[in-house]
């Protein structure tokens, strides 16, 4: 998995609450059997008109925001479907960090599987960062220090230690768990005796 350490760049403001994963990547793009190539379809219905032409005033279609690596968005970002296509499309577009006041659980988890850093800030801080993003002020994000800087704003954010490590080191989660194979087998042996109906396999 890609590592994440620090990031500098301008941030795209998207001041809409409850941005759901259907908005991030609509259903018709879920038919792929690959993880890549979804960036062009990110926020499809907000970015393109009925004929497939770019909608000029949508933020990610305007320069310099079309090169954004950071997104600042309203509350409850990523709600709805579990589709990992949502972080895949953000990543493929080039966005590596999303800042909001809260994230839906499954989306939040999915970000960490893909080297994307979701940052939770307070409503006041979000207002400040939304303004800074709109004014095209450069953002500077430092994961080891857990800070977001933009102009004269400097914000500390919280992140669970294991999630931070996973991003910093780009760890293979399955590889780590397979290191506990003995424990998994021991658990299964124990339960085969105690709950045999669960192992009367299909």
């Amino acid at each position: 998995m890609d590592k994440f350490n620090s990031l500098k760049g301008i941030a795209a403001p998207l001041p809409i609450v409850n941005i759901d994963t259907d908005m991030i990547i609509p259903k018709q793009f879920l038919k792929t059997i690959k993880r890549t190539g979804l960036g062009v379809s990110l926020f499809y219905e907000m970015r393109y008109d009925n004929d497939g032409n770019l909608i000029k005033d949508f933020v990610l279609n305007t320069s310099p925001f079309d090169q954004s690596k950071i997104l600042v968005a309203g509350d409850n970002f990523g709600c709805g479907s579990s589709r990992e296509h949502a972080p895949w499309s953000l990543k493929d577009f080039g966005i590596k960090c999303v800042i909001s006041t809260s994230f839906a659980d499954i989306f939040y988890n999915n970000c960490f599987q893909n080297g994307i850093l979701p940052i939770v800030v307070s409503p006041d801080q979000l207002d400040q960062l939304m303004m800074a993003a709109t004014n095209q002020i450069e953002f500077s994000i430092d994961l080891p220090e857990q800070t977001v800087k933009a102009g004269n704003h400097s914000i500390n954010f919280e992140i669970e230690e294991f999630r931070k490590d996973r991003l910093l080191q780009g760890l293979d989660d399955i590889g780590i768990t397979l290191g506990y194979q003995d424990k998994i087998s021991a658990y299964e042996e124990d339960k085969k005796n105690k709950k045999p109906w669960l192992f009367k396999d299909n």
């Binding site: 259907d22 018709q28 059997i33 709600c79 479907s81 989660d173 399955i174 768990t177 998994i184």
Partner: protein, 469 residues
């Protein structure tokens, strides 16, 4: 979480499935059953192949295609991408020895309908699926939640998932349900009350006499939409209603283990003095039949109510959000909900595509005709629901009323298949999400119960079942 002291249903299932702690402090939770569908699994199987990893326990996994499948003429999937995705699932499951219900199998259907129907879903289990509506299975007292594709790969490879415990929330609904109010109204009302982020980080346990009085179908509707309240999962204590539903189903414990399983299941309900991080108590008499007016499931109002006015919003953000929703929905503030004219009716989905839902619709539309300007479609949740309905003559009643009678699948709930709304079309839908574009680009969705959708099909407007006789 301590091992001593009173425990919630969630705490009990959690501690039973804890394999251990990893060095990074996270917990490894054992997964009893893994449900797989065609949309969120191909990249997971590809990942296994690249890393040369086998499926740890293929027999604990069950697969079915549901999202992409056409609900008519299904011998041939015309969309080449959908066809590839369905074929890829068939190929992957064959290669790894995973049970797969193919499109011609009568047991095929929406993954969250067939799990319970086959008796795969049982109390006290951990169940995951690459689909957010996995919360449905919580109706049986199973800890069931949706996961992303990377986690699907993790479960396939290890039969475990990396998790940290959720917080406990209990929502109790007490009292007899008023006439015309049912499980869909209850859950829409709850989402309206706590909001779409109200359950974030929590598992919601539904309790109280209104909930425990529901059938398993009704309980599944409630737990299904837990994700729309932002919760990781929904749970309802297993009881005699649960056990009666499970007994005798193909994958249920047989006579050799039934008593042992029953004893364990009976130990699962939350202890009386268990502690919850949040408690909400609702009196069922305050609940009306509910309808959504906007583009988030929290945008709910009584069917007797009005489309809200943005100027009455308490915050600037909320005002903007209402304005945006009303523009998308093509609605004016102050419009009576029952004055909203419909183009399409969709009855089905993992929320309301079970036999009980179909029976209710049939009882309402019997000997009536749908309004001449609406198109109405009813999509059974599984091949077996369809068969049962046909044995009961429900299909004839529905077809006589003017409904299209389809094959099982997710259908217009998410429009990944040919069933979609056209731009500007307005739909009364028994599904779970009214997001922008969910049922088709520019499509306008009003979520409601099967009863309201049935009454609305007849009148052509959103209608109150209580006025409809």
């Amino acid at each position: 979480m301590s091992n001593q002291g009173p425990k919630t249903l969630f705490d009990k299932i959690w501690s039973e499935h804890l394999v251990g702690q990893r060095e990074d402090g996270t917990s490894l939770l054992y997964i009893d059953r893994h449900l797989v569908h065609e949309v969120t699994s191909p990249q997971a199987f590809e990942g296994l192949k690249i890393s040369n990893r086998p499926v740890h326990r293929p027999e604990a996994t069950i697969a079915v295609a549901d999202h992409n499948v056409p609900t008519i003429n299904r011998q041939n999937i015309e969309d080449p991408q959908s066809k590839i995705q369905v074929e890829t699932l068939a190929k992957n499951t064959k290669e790894h020895g995973i049970q797969y219900f193919d499109l011609m199998d009568q047991r095929q259907g929406i993954v969250h309908i067939i799990g319970p129907e086959q008796g795969i879903t049982q109390p006290g289990m951990t169940i995951v699926c690459g689909d957010s509506h996995t919360s449905t299975h919580g109706a049986f007292g199973a800890l069931a939640f949706g996961i992303g594709t990377s986690e699907v790969e993790h479960v396939l490879a290890t039969q475990t998932i990396v998790q940290n415990p959720a917080k406990n929330m209990r929502i109790s609904v007490n009292g007899d349900l008023p006439f015309g109010v049912n499980s869909k109204d209850l859950i829409l009302y709850i989402i309206g009350k706590i909001g779409t982020a109200g359950g974030t980080g929590h598992v919601i346990e539904y309790a109280g006499s209104s909930i425990m009085g529901l059938s398993m179908e009704g309980r599944m509707t409630i737990c299904n939409m837990s994700i729309e309240a932002g919760a990781r999962a929904g749970l309802i204590s297993p009881d005699q209603t649960t056990f009666n539903y499970i007994q005798g189903r193909p994958y249920a414990p047989g006579a050799d283990h039934w008593d042992q399983a029953l004893k364990y299941w009976s130990s699962l309900p939350s202890d009386n003095d268990a502690n919850y991080d949040h408690e909400i108590v609702i009196d069922s008499s305050e609940i009306d039949p509910m309808v959504t007016w906007g583009t988030s499931p929290e945008d709910v109002v009584s069917v007797k109510g009005l489309v809200p006015n943005p100027s009455s919003a308490q915050t600037e953000n909320k005002k903007k959000s209402i304005e945006r929703s009303l523009e998308y929905m093509g609605l004016k503030p102050g419009t009576k909900i029952t004055d909203i004219k419909l183009d399409k009716i969709f009855i089905g989905s993992c929320t309301n595509g079970r036999i009980e839902d179909l029976r209710k619709v049939a009882s309402i539309v019997k000997d009536k005709k749908i309004a001449s300007h609406v198109q109405a479609m009813i999509v059974p949740g599984s091949g077996l629901v369809k068969k049962q309905a046909e044995e009961e003559g429900i299909d004839i009643i529905l077809k006589d009323a003017g409904f299209e009678w389809r094959e099982a699948g997710c259908s217009m709930c998410l429009g990944m298949n040919p069933d979609q709304l056209k731009p500007g079309e307005r739909c009364a839908s028994t599904s779970n999400r009214n997001f922008e574009g969910r049922q088709g680009r520019g499509g306008r969705t009003h979520l409601m119960s099967p009863e309201l959708a049935a009454a609305s099909a007849i009148t052509g407007n959103i209608s109150d079942i209580r006025d409809f006789t």
